[in-house]
């Protein structure tokens, strides 16, 4: 597939947009040009992302739209980007969600330029991390993606924003240090030394060893462990999800969406990409551990979510459970399970984005972060008849998170369950049980917020305005379209999944 720098432009446009926010104020500010420039650059990148997805040759599992330039030839570091079936879903997710995030902060009063610039940097960094085919470049973009959160949280966050922002960036840096160690280890494990993912994939690291402390160590085990540890530092996985809970409590809704709906799916994607690609045998031997971690996160997330009173905490625990579900799919080592895990990353991103953006619109009206009081009485309630559009959007988002058929959440769930059968039939029941509790949580939340008599915080609750409809309706429409006909995406993913899984079977 001829590249014509498609992916490079896709990655570059957000950075150009971020730089454009530095343009002098004055006439531009009066015209509101800064935010239009931000949206334009973000949307252009998104359009290029969608073009890349549409143009992808579904029969070809290899990398497509490859761009490659020498960067530090002496160290075999190249700027090399490309996508295959595995990368298209995160690319599509970011292409869909980022413009909506920019739009959701269209009326931000304080520091809008900075906010938009940071979101654009995040978009570019995440797209770069997904498309990178060189570990060094991948690390560069992935490490860069942590920086915006320090400012987004530290400037626009809640009362404890500075502490949480510091903790967030320190945690990310700690994770990045592990990733860097792993990359260096991988680099020196092959001869000639290389950072190229393509050159390292397919089990080439199997059997590689290195000496340290007078002993021989397996590169696969240590490297995979470091990568897993690095990425788990950026993910809400039990019991290391405390930081994320605090993040969820302090972050503005759009920043919460950026972390939960964009960074987590990308972290999971990278885990799959590096794990399956570079360490197939180690991944295979670690599958049961991955599945166990997934099951614990899933069960813990849904059960603990039931007793929460705050929207933000519910979102955080639902996120935890979704990550658990995806890990189960990945650990199944099954075509359906792995495809389901990839699709679920996409579905989770859309549904969590919907929930987060809906939450933002909701908080502007009620200002109430809790939906029930300490004694379990609804604080909001009765919105369905006064704000029907809000109700429809909120219901669809919740339904997708619960895995209702016809919505995008169902597809990933069904495929993950199909795949988990190959691990153990009992896993199907555990997953189903957790999904049932998630449904209970979603229905309970829905009942307390939308139905019943009006609560203290919702006597006058206005329906969604034009701007909110403009960014929530497309999201919900996409959730329905890909829920009703997921095959268009799965046909693109499947050849690459089969190719990657073949490395494990051989």
């Amino acid at each position: 597939m001829e590249s014509k720098l498609l992916l490079s432009w896709m990655i570059a446009f957000p950075f150009i947009g971020a730089i454009s926010q530095l343009l002098p104020e004055g006439v531009l500010r009066r015209l509101g040009a800064h935010r239009w420039l931000a949206l334009l650059s973000c949307a252009t990148s998104s359009v290029l992302g969608v073009v890349a997805v549409i143009s992808l040759d579904s029969q070809n599992p290899a990398l497509q739209f490859l761009d490659s330039f020498e960067w530090m030839e002496a160290f075999s570091i190249h700027y090399r980007v490309g996508i295959d079936g595995m990368s298209i879903l995160p690319v599509l997710l970011i292409s869909i969600v980022c413009p909506l995030l920019i739009a959701s902060e269209w009326s931000l009063k304080r520091g809008q330029r900075g906010f938009h610039a940071l979101l654009l940097i995040l978009q570019g960094a995440l797209l770069g991390a997904i498309c990178s085919q060189d570990l060094f470049i991948l690390f560069f973009f992935w490490a860069l993606s942590a920086i915006p959160f320090f400012f987004l949280l530290g400037v626009w966050g809640g009362e404890e924003r500075q502490e949480v922002a510091s903790r967030s960036v320190v945690t990310a840096m700690l994770g990045n240090s592990f990733l860097f160690c792993a990359i260096i280890l991988i680099y020196f494990a092959v001869d000639p030394h290389t950072f190229s993912i393509a050159d390292l994939s397919g089990g080439k690291l199997d059997g590689a060893r290195f000496s340290a402390g007078g002993r021989e160590w397996d590169v696969g085990s240590i490297g995979f462990g470091l990568v897993a540890l690095a990425l788990f530092f950026r993910l809400p996985i039990w019991p290391f999800h405390g930081g994320y809970l605090r993040f969820a409590h302090q972050a503005p809704p759009s920043v919460l969406v950026a972390e939960s709906a964009l960074v987590f799916p990308v972290a999971l994607y990278l885990f799959g990409r590096i794990g399956y690609g570079l360490f197939p045998k180690t991944f295979q031997t670690s599958a049961s551990i991955i599945v166990t971690i997934g099951v614990i996160s899933l069960i813990f997330g849904v059960f603990t979510g039931v007793s929460q009173r705050s929207f933000r905490r519910v979102l955080a625990y639902l996120c935890l459970s979704q990550v658990g579900l995806i890990l189960i799919g990945m650990g199944s080592l099954d075509t359906a399970g792995f495809t389901g895990a990839l699709f679920q990353q996409f579905a989770m991103g859309l549904a969590i984005a919907g929930f987060g953006l809906f939450l933002g619109a909701f908080l502007k009206r009620s200002g109430e972060e809790n939906f029930v009081s300490e004694d379990g009485q609804p604080l909001i309630g009765g919105i369905a008849l006064r704000a029907p559009t809000t109700t429809v959007v909120g219901s669809l988002v919740l339904a997708s998170l619960a895995g209702v058929p016809g919505l995008v959440g169902f597809v990933g769930l069904a495929l993950t369950m199909v795949g988990s059968y190959s691990v153990s039939p009992a896993l199907v029941f555990i997953t189903a049980f957790a999904v049932l509790v998630a449904a209970f949580l979603a229905v309970n939340l829905w009942r307390k917020v939308f139905l019943g008599p009006s609560g203290e915080s919702s006597p006058t609750f206005a329906d969604l305005n034009a701007l909110e409809r403009a960014y929530l309706f497309p999201l919900v429409a996409i959730m329905i379209v890909f829920g009703a006909y997921p095959k268009s995406l799965i046909d693109l993913v499947r050849p690459t999944v089969l190719s990657i899984l073949s490395w494990i079977s051989t």
């Binding site: 019991p239 290391f240 405390g242 930081g243 813990f300 059960f303 603990t304 979510g305 039931v306 007793s307 929460q308 099954d334 075509t335 359906a336 009765g382 369905a384 008849l385 029907p388 619960a402 209702v404 058929p405 016809g406 597809v411 069904a414 495929l415 369950m417 199909v418 795949g419 059968y421 190959s422 039939p425 199907v428 029941f429 189903a432 999904v435 049932l436 509790v437 449904a439 209970f440 229905v443 309970n444 829905w446 009942r447 939308f450 139905l451 019943g452 008599p453 009006s454 006909y485 997921p486 095959k487 799965i490 046909d491 499947r494």
Partner: protein, 628 residues
């Protein structure tokens, strides 16, 4: 041919989607003019009818064999493992159910239109269209696992139908229960379907049995029979008949179709006596909960759930046709019971009373009805097993008692002076109940091309002794027929004396044993207990998590880390101080020394020429050492 069928399938999907969308639009059209609402509703109903004709054209109309279907891969490509298909399936049974479903929906829509412009008219019409299109979708899709998903989507119709009462706590809880109940059933069903489809031939027999169990449990939960009865017991009992029609009757069509779909896998595991007992006990307990209700409007709902559960019991013993007839009979009876409440405006209406009794009669008591034929067939086939037959007869007797009780106390709900629409609707459904019994074989065999003779045209004849050609033993047929008639008579008497003549003895139990009454009337507190247990577990986990956060990611590592770092830093700091001090002192000495020497010379303490002599000696000594 294939192209035409493909176009018809797409057209069918579009029509169903269109009807569903019209329902959604109607749900938002509370403020619009009535004419617009009626036009939209009419268009939606028309779509449903056209979809019915299309499904006939796709299947029997095309002259194809029964159960033929055309599907395309939904998730994965054809022939791959884990493939889940999505397509249209058609058979005489499905066509029949489609027509009956759309016919009944049209009748109820017409009743609503005749009721006039009420506050919740748009909600009811929207609910009808959404639920009916979802049920048609379930009947039409080729994949069994998707058919129950339609029921789940259809519950949206039931929720919208209740739109005017969403602010009532009881009804809001009812809607939430409905959704969760449907979802629960769907998850069970999906697990079973996945077990059946995931591995195909590699499955063991025990997995097969487990899969069937799960599917049936999923279907069972949709009947709202015990232990899923809480939604029926806890609702306020919405006075109009549309909600029961949407949330009970329309999904029941799909459940019957699903049961018939499962003939093949069920046959592979043989007779499922365990499942039979589950359904039977469920029916009995549902009846008991129903008899203990104080709200008269709930009798019908409980009775319907109990009868549908009974028909599933018949299915589990390998008699899907009997189950089909029993289920369809229960559906017709339920619809008649709902409509009879509108037959007269007067509260003490004799029309309401007698038509309700007629509806109850048609459920399983009339020898000419489908329900009777189904029950008779089933009883005949299990007559050899006294225990099975005995308990089934007892459950049937209790179910009929509840049906009669519902008929005796059926309430009036219409506010219209002109009741002709109700008489018309009642007559149409009653005729359908009889005519399917009498002419079903012609209908199925002649019109739909079904060689298996789905409908029991011979059943009434068998009772009259006119049967000449049948594989079923005539004597057994007559015995079971007479048994059913006797059972009906007995249940009428029992219902009359326990519920009507000198007050309601079931409700009187509340005064004598209030806790027992509360326990039974609330569905044996299954839902309350489960919900409490879930919340308690959730709270415990939350506490555990808080504790863990305090101890694990909070206190321990922080203390250890800060201890290690602090200790190291303190030692580094001390070492630095010592080093710095030593360096400072040394520097000071080094700087001070020449000054001090000069000071000594200047003071005269040391003579300068002695210093020179000392320097010369040291120089000579150094020179000697170098040369030596």
């Amino acid at each position: 041919m294939t192209t035409t069928l493909g176009i018809l399938q797409v057209a069918w999907f579009l029509l169903i989607s269109f009807a569903f969308s019209i329902g959604l639009v109607l749900s938002r059209s509370g403020e619009s003019r009535r004419g617009t609402r009626l036009t939209l509703a009419g268009a939606g109903i028309l779509c449903l009818w056209v979809a019915c004709f299309l499904i006939y054209e796709i299947g029997p109309g095309a002259g194809l064999e029964t159960w033929s279907h055309w599907s395309s891969a939904w998730l994965f490509s054809d022939g791959t493992k884990g493939q889940l298909n999505f397509g249209v399936g058609s058979s005489p049974l499905r066509v029949t159910l489609n027509w009956v479903l759309v016919g009944l929906t049209s009748i109820f829509a017409a009743i609503q239109l005749r009721e006039g412009s009420t506050k919740d008219e748009h909600s009811i019409l929207a609910g009808l269209l959404i639920a009916a299109s979802a049920s048609l979708f379930s009947l039409g899709v080729a994949a069994e696992w998707l058919s129950l998903a339609g029921v789940l989507i259809g519950s949206l119709g039931a929720a919208i139908c209740m739109g005017g009462r969403w602010e009532e706590v009881v009804d809001a809880d009812g809607v939430a229960r409905l959704f969760f109940g449907r979802f629960l059933g769907w998850i069970l069903f999906l697990c079973g379907a996945l077990l059946l489809s995931a591995e195909g031939q590699e499955m063991t027999a025990s997995t097969d049995v487990l899969a069937i169990w799960l599917i049936l449990l999923g279907v069972w939960s949709q009947t709202q029979a015990f232990p899923w009865v809480a939604a029926l017991s806890a609702g306020s009992g919405h006075q109009k008949p549309f909600k029961p029609f949407i949330s009970e009757v329309l999904p029941a069509f799909v459940l019957i179709a699903v049961i018939l779909h499962l003939q093949k896998p069920m046959a592979s595991i043989g007779t499922a006596t365990g499942i039979f007992w589950v359904f039977l006990i469920s029916s009995l307990l549902t009846t008991l909960t129903g008899l203990f209700q104080k709200n008269a409007q709930k009798y019908g709902s409980h009775a319907f759930a109990a009868l549908i559960s009974l028909s599933f019991a018949a299915s589990s013993l390998g008699h899907p046709k009997a189950a089909f007839w029993m289920g369809l009979g229960a559906i017709f009876s339920r619809c008649l019971l709902l409509i009879s409440g509108g037959l007269e405006k007067n509260t003490d209406s004799k029309w309401v009373r007698w038509s309700s009794i007629g509806a109850a009669f048609l459920a399983f008591s009339s020898p000419l009805s489908l329900g009777f034929a189904g029950t008779q067939t089933f009883l005949t086939s299990i007559s050899e097993s006294t225990a099975l037959a005995g308990i089934f007869v007892f459950a049937l007797f209790m179910g009929q008692t509840l049906v009669w009780k519902a008929a005796f106390v059926n309430h009036r709900w219409s506010e219209r002076q002109d009741q002709m629409i109700y008489f018309g609707a009642y007559g149409l459904i009653a005729i359908a109940t009889f005519s399917l019994g009498w002419t079903g074989a012609w209908f199925a065999g002649g019109f739909l091309g079904n060689d298996e003779q789905m409908f029991p045209s011979w059943s009434a004849q068998a009772l009259a002794g006119f049967l000449t050609e049948s594989t079923v033993d005539l004597a057994s047929q007559q015995v079971s027929g007479l048994l059913l008639v006797g059972l009906s008579a007995l249940s009428i008497i029992f219902a009359y004396f326990t519920s009507l003549r000198k007050g309601d003895h079931w409700i009187a139990i509340e005064k004598k044993a209030p806790r027992t009454f509360h326990f039974v009337s609330n569905g044996f507190l299954i839902e309350a207990t489960t919900s409490r247990a879930t919340r308690a577990l959730s709270r415990r986990l939350h506490q555990f998590e808080n504790g863990m956060r305090e101890v694990f990611p909070g206190r321990w590592p922080r203390r250890i880390l800060s201890g290690v770092v602090g200790f190291t830093l303190r030692w580094i700091h001390r070492a630095e101080l010592v080093w710095d001090l030593a360096l400072t002192r040394s520097s000071a000495r080094a700087v001070n020394m020449p000054g001090q020497v000069l000071q000594l010379i200047q003071n005269g303490s040391v003579q300068w020429y002695l210093m020179i002599a000392l320097a010369v000696i040291l120089s000579l000594l150094a020179h000697a050492m170098r040369n030596g």
